[in-house]
């Protein structure tokens, strides 16, 4: 592969390098930059490519001392390639053959240092930024976690930072985790709990309900602009008379306080009724604070420790709160009830605890949490900082891979993501490759067992489990280079490339994840990354739009991300919970942000991407041509194809993007349309303060408009 100036070529070296575990690293490993915007990737050109399926590839060609440019000069000039038609041959939706030179936008380059071989793609940070609501994304080895991703967060608390690892365990890996759990002997404890209760005089006489009903009626008709009905006046007269009678007859001090509370509400209602129907303030119930003794079951602290101990309880969420300065607070203990289902609460020892919400019921957990919560794992460290490495290590207590992902493993995850994004699951070559990959794991495990069998002698049950787990994990690691070769060849065949080597050398092929916002990572789909102009051409003048509900555009821009509901809950932005998925089984919706294919919006508050390829290059996008109610996965119209999305006609179409969007970096909208001049001024001021002059290559004054 020559140096032809295509920025996409700089990553092709990763393929052959990854296939040889013994090859010297081509470049220094290092953390990905906080954002890929504007970062130039370091490049090493090689001529080598992966070998045939199942065979080790030749070692990487570059010498370790090969000069490595810090940035590709062409990266800053190739921002707007000409549109090309999509009528190419081959099964790939956007064939690489149509790629103009330098098609990769400059602002989508990966970070400076490109890890290779055994080097971690995302090193564990020594310090997790305290109070950062987005945390630090991390790629964990193996395939036990969804997208192999975990997030390390350090919530602020009076006791010091509370560091947490959050991830989603895949359904396939769940059996390993559940196998690690051991039932815990439980004991009863008695505790005092504060209670708030209404008085019997109130509940029997429906005082609160009557006042609330009258207030609702007044406010509803005031909003509708029609007359307050006569029965509302009559209802108010009834409850007012009831309050008067009780006041005259009752001398109980507690009752007097309650009656005074309700008389104040009645006065406000009367003022509205007779003063023009203005909005009645929130009517609250009068409550008496008391306490009661409750009995709870907790793990027996004196029980022997056979491993992670577990209890089943109603599902919860961490009670995270985001303050006005953007700092996320959580004390590591307070939790709010989740919408539905149960969860495992785990004691991992040494002050580490965990919560796991399974995908499937078990003999002791029979009520599943909602879809978006299934597989969610949280591991909480003791108070203090510096637990990042230990948090990852604790995954091993749950029989999950507990080390960061190597660059080689990254390519496996990248290829699996391509299979998903480009809908290659059913292609015979891919089906066969994935089957072969499983066989390779098994065969390697058998080999390792033969080598290590003597080590198992004399081990107890737990020791044997640990031994078996290490065999499997080591087998998966050892088989990986061959698996990558097999899958790459299959993906190449399914997408019309001549082979895995040709695919790895093609424009757009880049197995390195990119930061999207500060809190998560993503891969690009190589067909779109190779030719974003083709996507733009498909969409014509239309783009992707997201309308903001409450008009708080400034707060969203300040956060820098448009995050999914689940992510916002982790950030502490979302305080409420919801029962949506009990009524609507649209699994995964809470894990995505929703956009729509639309014309350029004429009014705000709205975010608009006139170039859909900016977002649709991501390999975690799916869409529906119109709203589907109660839709499970792959309901009518479900698609991952940008070309199909370009044909959407109904305004209720939905494009779902996992986790969220980086609004101030590589995924910045081309238009932030405000509702008022003051709002525009406020947002421009915010961007100036952050020294952001351009978004998506355009001056912010051109992007933020009225």
């Amino acid at each position: 592969m020559g140096s032809d100036g295509k920025t996409a070529h700089q990553y092709h070296t990763i393929g052959p390098t990854l296939l040889d575990e013994q090859a010297p690293p081509a470049v220094l490993a290092g953390p990905l930059s906080p954002t890929d915007a504007g970062a130039g990737g370091q490049a090493v050109e090689t001529a080598a490519a992966g070998g045939p399926a199942g065979e080790p590839a030749p070692p990487a060609q570059p010498a370790p001392d090969l000069p490595v440019p810090s940035a590709m000069p062409e990266a800053s000039t190739a921002t707007d390639p000409p549109a090309t038609t999509l009528s190419g041959a081959g099964p790939a939706e956007f064939p690489a053959e149509t790629t103009p030179a330098g098609a990769t936008p400059a602002d989508t380059q990966p970070a400076d240092a490109v890890p290779a071989g055994d080097e971690p793609l995302t090193p564990i940070p020594e310090m997790i930024p305290r109070g950062d609501p987005l945390g630090v994304p991390l790629l964990v080895g193996g395939a036990d976690l969804d997208d192999s991703q975990a997030t390390l967060l350090a919530y602020d608390s009076p006791q010091g930072p509370r560091e947490v690892l959050v991830a989603t365990v895949t359904p396939d890996a769940e059996a390993k985790l559940l196998d690690a759990l051991t039932s815990t002997p439980m004991i009863e404890i008695h505790t005092e709990e504060q209670t708030s209760t209404r008085l019997a005089l109130d509940t029997d006489g429906h005082l609160f309900e009557q006042l609330a009903t009258v207030a609702k009626s007044i406010n509803h008709h005031a909003t509708a602009g029609d007359d307050i009905p006569a029965h509302t006046y009559a209802n108010f007269a009834t409850v007012a008379a009831q309050l008067d009678a009780l006041t005259d007859a009752d001398t109980d001090a507690g009752h007097a306080e309650m009656l005074e509370h309700y008389r104040a509400h009645a006065a406000a209602i009367e003022a509205s009724l007779h003063g023009g129907g203005g909005k009645v303030p929130h009517v609250t119930a009068f409550e008496q604070v008391g306490s009661r003794t409750v009995t709870r079951l907790v793990p027996d602290p004196d029980a022997l420790d056979p491993g992670p101990t577990v209890t089943v309880r109603p599902a919860t969420r961490p009670a995270v709160v985001l303050d006005s300065d953007g700092v996320a607070h959580w004390n590591g203990a307070d939790r709010t009830p989740a919408e539905q289902g149960q969860e495992y609460a785990l004691d991992l020892g040494d002050g580490y605890t965990a919560v796991y919400r399974p995908h499937a019921t078990t003999h002791d957990l029979t009520d599943l949490p909602q879809h978006s919560q299934r597989g969610r794992l949280e591991i909480v460290a003791p108070p203090g900082n510096g637990h990042g490495t230990d948090l990852v290590d604790k995954l091993g207590d749950l029989q999950l891979v507990n080390r960061t992902m190597t660059a080689a493993e990254g390519e496996w995850s990248y290829l699996r993501r391509q299979v998903w994004a480009q809908d290659l699951d059913a292609h015979p070559a891919v089906v066969q490759a994935l089957h072969t990959a499983g066989d390779l794991d098994d065969a390697t495990e058998h080999l390792l067992f033969a080598e290590r069998a003597p080590q198992a002698m004399g081990l107890d049950e737990r020791g044997l489990r640990t031994f078996a787990r290490s065999l499997r994990l080591d087998a998966e690691t050892r088989a990986l280079p061959a698996k990558i070769g097999v899958l790459r060849d299959a993906v190449a065949q399914a997408t019309g490339h001549t082979g895995g080597a040709a695919l790895a050398a093609s424009p757009g092929y880049d197995p390195h994840p990119r930061h999207s916002g500060r809190g998560w990572l993503r891969w690009d789909r190589f067909d779109v990354a190779a030719d974003p102009a083709a996507v733009r051409a498909r969409f014509g003048g239309r783009g992707l739009m997201h309308e903001i509900g409450s008009g708080n555009l400034h707060a969203i821009i300040r956060s820098g991300v448009l995050a999914s509901t689940e992510r916002r809950r982790l950030m502490g932005v979302t305080t409420g919970v919801g029962l949506s998925e009990t009524a609507d089984l649209n699994s995964g919706g809470a894990n995505s942000v929703f956009l729509r294919v639309a014309e350029t919006p004429a009014s705000g508050p709205v975010l608009f991407w006139e170039d859909p390829s900016v977002l649709l290059r991501r390999a975690d996008v799916y869409a529906y041509p119109l709203d589907n109610f109660g839709a499970e996965d792959r309901h009518e119209g479900y698609t991952r194809s940008p070309a199909t999305m370009a044909t959407f006609q109904h305004s209720s179409n939905e494009v779902m993007i996992r986790n969220g969007l980086d609004l101030l970096g590589a995924e910045a909208p081309s238009m932030i349309r405000c509702t008022t001049a003051a709002q525009r001024t406020q947002i421009l001021s915010l961007l100036r303060d952050r020294k952001i002059e351009k978004l998506g290559g355009r001056l912010v004054e051109q992007v933020v408009v009225l």
């Binding site: 207030a215 709010t336 008009g551 919801g578």
Partner: protein, 169 residues
């Protein structure tokens, strides 16, 4: 509204609670059931908030707001509501109606309903809310009319958002 199809007129009336037996529209409302197979079980059921927005330039397209996302707050103060809704969860939804028909009131005084064949193959039935559905709708009314600021309710009624930000989101 004069030229709108009959199903839309009835849908508008149901959502507003015009079929109330008490004279107070807040005592009535609508619920929606959606079916993948007209003879199969409902795959979605929820009351509908008292808001509706047809799209004039897209005949058959109507935005609604199913009432979902209700919860009982914990660690609540005396000023907090007993019951609240997550406004991100109670998001607007689109009905892309290919064909609508009004189901006549029955002899027992049951008001009319509408059956909507949706583009995409699903069927929606919108009928007077009852039982648990009506109770949830009334909790929504309590929340939106007493707890939320008027401006927030007006924003909700525009049925234009793709995400909600701020309190209760």
């Amino acid at each position: 509204m004069a030229d709108e199809p009959a199903w839309l007129t009835v849908l508008r009336s149901l959502v507003a609670g015009q079929h109330t037996p008490t004279g107070e529209v807040l005592d009535a409302g609508a619920e929606m059931l959606v079916f993948n197979d007209p003879d199969g079980p409902a795959v979605f059921q929820a009351p509908l908030a008292r808001m509706l927005r047809p799209v004039p330039e897209e005949p058959g397209m109507v935005w609604i707001r199913p009432v979902v996302g209700g919860y009982r707050p914990v660690h609540r103060s005396s000023q907090d509501p007993y019951y609240a809704f997550n406004l991100s969860t109670a998001r607007r939804r689109g009905l892309a109606v290919a064909h609508g028909e009004v189901l006549p009131a029955d002899g027992d005084g049951q008001p009319s309903s509408v059956r909507l064949a949706l583009h995409g193959g699903q069927t929606a039935l919108v009928r007077p809310a009852s039982g648990e559905m009506l109770e949830e709708l009334q909790r929504w009314d309590t929340f939106t009319l007493l707890v939320l600021p008027s401006e927030t309710l007006a924003d909700l009624a525009r049925l234009s958002e793709d995400s909600w930000h701020g309190p209760y989101a």
